[in-house]
Amino acid sequence: MLPGFGLSLGYALAYLGLVVLLPLAALAWKASGIGAAGLLHLLAAPRTQAALRLSFGGALLAALVNAAIGLLVAWVLVRYRFPGRRLLDALVDLPFALPTAVAGIALTALYAPNGWLGHGLAMWGIKVAYTRLGIGIAMVFVGFPFVVRTVQPVLAALDRDMEEAAESLGAHREQTFMRVILPMLAPALLTGFALALARAVGEYGSVIFIAGNIPMRSEIAPLLIVQQLEEFDYAGAAALGVVMLCFSFALLIALSLLQRWSRRWAEFAT
């Protein structure tokens, strides 16, 4: 029997209790102070609804874009050999390493009407900075590594025999991809999608600089919480916080189910 069970578990639990559970209890306490009717009233406010729609809708779209592009990048990095591949592979994690405030002002400078990309896009009549499109771009940026990093190891471990079997049985490349490869990648792809979604919904730093932050139009839910705090509307901030937290919990449960599924899937596929 190894030593240290009581000490390590006791320390971990005490630490989690103080750092995570106690503050979360304070949130529940404050939110319960306004009651169910008050909560519904706050959530029915047009400004709250607009912010929640924007955060969830934008994050959903960004996660879908990331699923597609992440799959492409993972495919290229795993299946092809070309000069600079390892450098690109390392670069994928940049959005994790770059502080969000830095990403926020950099994206804004890039897509502003006089920026490197914004200038060209403006000639086509496309405005990115200070619009919802800008919010979407920032959300794609912060969530980008998730899909690549979940799909990559599964794709690398994929048994090529199945593909070769499919092709020798006369399947086209498209058929092999859609019917053989994609189903085997599905759990990893969904996991990456959910992680990117969770990140984009709560994202603050990289979005607020490029968003324009006009109430009802380009104001994300986390910014609304910050503004309610600045106006000392603690109950309102707590209520909105609880709604976003419930969504995070739901996603966490979905993710753990996904992981169980993908483990069974991996056993089946190998």
Binding site: L2, P3, G4, F5, S8, L9, A12, L13, Y15, L16, V19, V20, L21, L24, A26, L27, W29, K30, L72, V73, W75, V76, Y80, F82, L88, L91, D93, L94, F96, A97, L98, P99, T100, A101, A103, I105, A106, A109, W116, L117, F141, F144, P145, R149, T150, R173, G202, E203, Y204, G205, P222, I225, V226, L229, Y234, G241, S248, L251, L252, S256
Partner: protein
Amino acid sequence: MTAIPSRPPGRSRRALRALLILAAVVFLVLFLVLPLAAVFAEALRKGAHVYLTSIDQPNAYSAIRLTLLVAAIAVPLNLVFGVAAAWAVARFEFPGKALLGALIDLPFSISPVIAGLIYVLLFGAQGWLGPWLTSHDIKIIFAVPGLILASVFVTLPFVARELIPLMQAQGSEEEEAARVLGASGWQMFFRVTLPKIRWALLYGVLLCNARAMGEFGAVSVVSGMIRGLTTTMPLEIEMRYNEYDYVGAFAVASLLAMLALVTLAAKTALEWRYSEELAAHAPGGH
């Protein structure tokens, strides 16, 4: 080239391959390289002299000092927690283990703004413990302790998440052998366990540190933005940016971008050299 004239799939396959590589490279350059380049280009827009003078300022120095202080406290706290949690989860069976694992991951799936909010609701003037703190003249929110707590919260999972899968995969036979041979608990830990997990530990600490130094949302909620006292580097960037001091904002941002590049390089070097001593990485809010 083996010339088999009637094999168009080979050629179209090569064309598809080139097209996919091109698409991925163009996307990565436009989406990742360009923003990074923009940080340095904007910082140096008015020349090296203006760049250096906008860093050589008391505001910038106090922000750098505070950022280092916050990381110097938050990272060791989460390092010790990560090792303790990993030891308990990877070496023992107990009821509620899955729940504990979920709880450790929780800070990654919570919005940074909510991470700040929960501390305001606990320690703020109108918070749960607010009246008691006020009567004892203790300031946590809008002060340095609040910044540290918020940073501890958002970086809590990094070390634990790196260690748990690795230690589960490694098993405990060597530890058990050390115990049979008469090693004390701490001897076993420092001579057997620690050498087995050192690279994964360093990996977790690297990511934890990068996030602690770069955190924005959570600290902005608890900071109160008192310049020189409660503004870390990311907050100093925001203040300068909102004051239209773009070169100044990007100058401070360029320092954090360099930290990000160093972190990426060190992380990649660890992955190349010690891949088998690092666990299979479950991606998370790195």
